[in-house]
Amino acid sequence: MHKHVVVIYPHPDDEAFGSSGTMTQFRKEGIPVTYLCGSLGEMGRNMGNPFFANRETLPDIRKKELLDACKILDVNIKMLGYRDKTIEFESRDEIAEHIKGYLDEIKPTLVITHYPGEAVHPDHDAMGAAAVEAVRRMEKEKRPEVWAQAITNGHYEKLGQPQIVNNVEEEFEVKLQAIQAHRSQFEGMFPKMKGSSDFEGQYEEVMKRFKQEEFYKWTFEN
């Protein structure tokens, strides 16, 4: 059984979409979970629908939403203070050391992050790579397990089947609440998704995908 789980993603809402069902399962077992959130999603283009945020108010709004979501999920939150869309341009080395500082302190037995190179958004890829690097820099016997989440359309062909497949149907209500806590991003999203051009003909498939959270176990060569 895991002792402490650290989740590392770059944006408020990545946690809700990515692994909130899994986090809820851990919390049900009484295992502490800490979310290291890279940015405040300052450059998001969703401003609410109908929109109520603007480019300058969005950071504070999303910070509040992040805190709300973490409350729903009953997880600790640490905000790392990078800026949305710029993480890939920062020093990988510095971000890895920054993350390692938290890992050295928290001593998690499991780290969940995005699969570098297979996570669609450049921030996801960069944060995932820095997280993996942070763990790699730890002494071998002190390293937590790493579960990496791939979300590209072609990742099954490339990486094969993920080793961890969590059915989160029982936690789905909590997951939906966590997603919808990110109001500026997803308010009324589910009813609207059916008609949205982003999800044309894919709605059922997307809903099914939300009920399953998949991770690849990262293996370190040395």
Binding site: N46, G48, N54, S197
Partner: protein
């Protein structure tokens, strides 16, 4: 933000002419455009470039507005802006949104740097 009233925005733009100001200019089709089988992702932004413009004009393009700022050695241009706000920090915000409320373009002007 509220729907642009051309004359009000023109007045606001004029107030920032002939002085050093900071601009934020941005356009995007979203970080997931490619993922959702549309065109590849495009976007650009400049935040806190210090500029000085000699004249500004906002033009009605029926469904939205175009804005041009003339500088001594060049131009700043944005099209598709639909909404505006002059917030309590004196930041003049112009933005264009799609039917789902998503930001597609922004042009913002401020006497002081935008938060970075």
């Amino acid at each position: 933000m509220k729907a642009i009233e051309r004359a009000d925005v023109q007045k606001a733009l004029d107030q920032y002419a002939e002085q050093d100001v900071y601009v934020h200019v941005e356009t995007t089709n979203g970080a997931y455009a490619k993922h959702f089988n549309r065109n590849h992702n495009v976007g650009a932004y400049i935040r806190n470039a210090q500029v000085r413009y000699t004249r500004a004009k906002i033009v009605d393009a029926e469904d939205a507005f175009r804005v041009g700022l003339k500088m001594e050695k060049g131009w700043i241009y944005a099209e598709g802006v639909t909404d505006w706000e002059w917030n309590e920090n004196g930041e003049l915000l112009l933005a264009g949104h799609d039917s789902e409320g998503r930001l597609m373009v922004a042009l913002q002007i401020s006497k002081n740097p935008f938060r970075y």
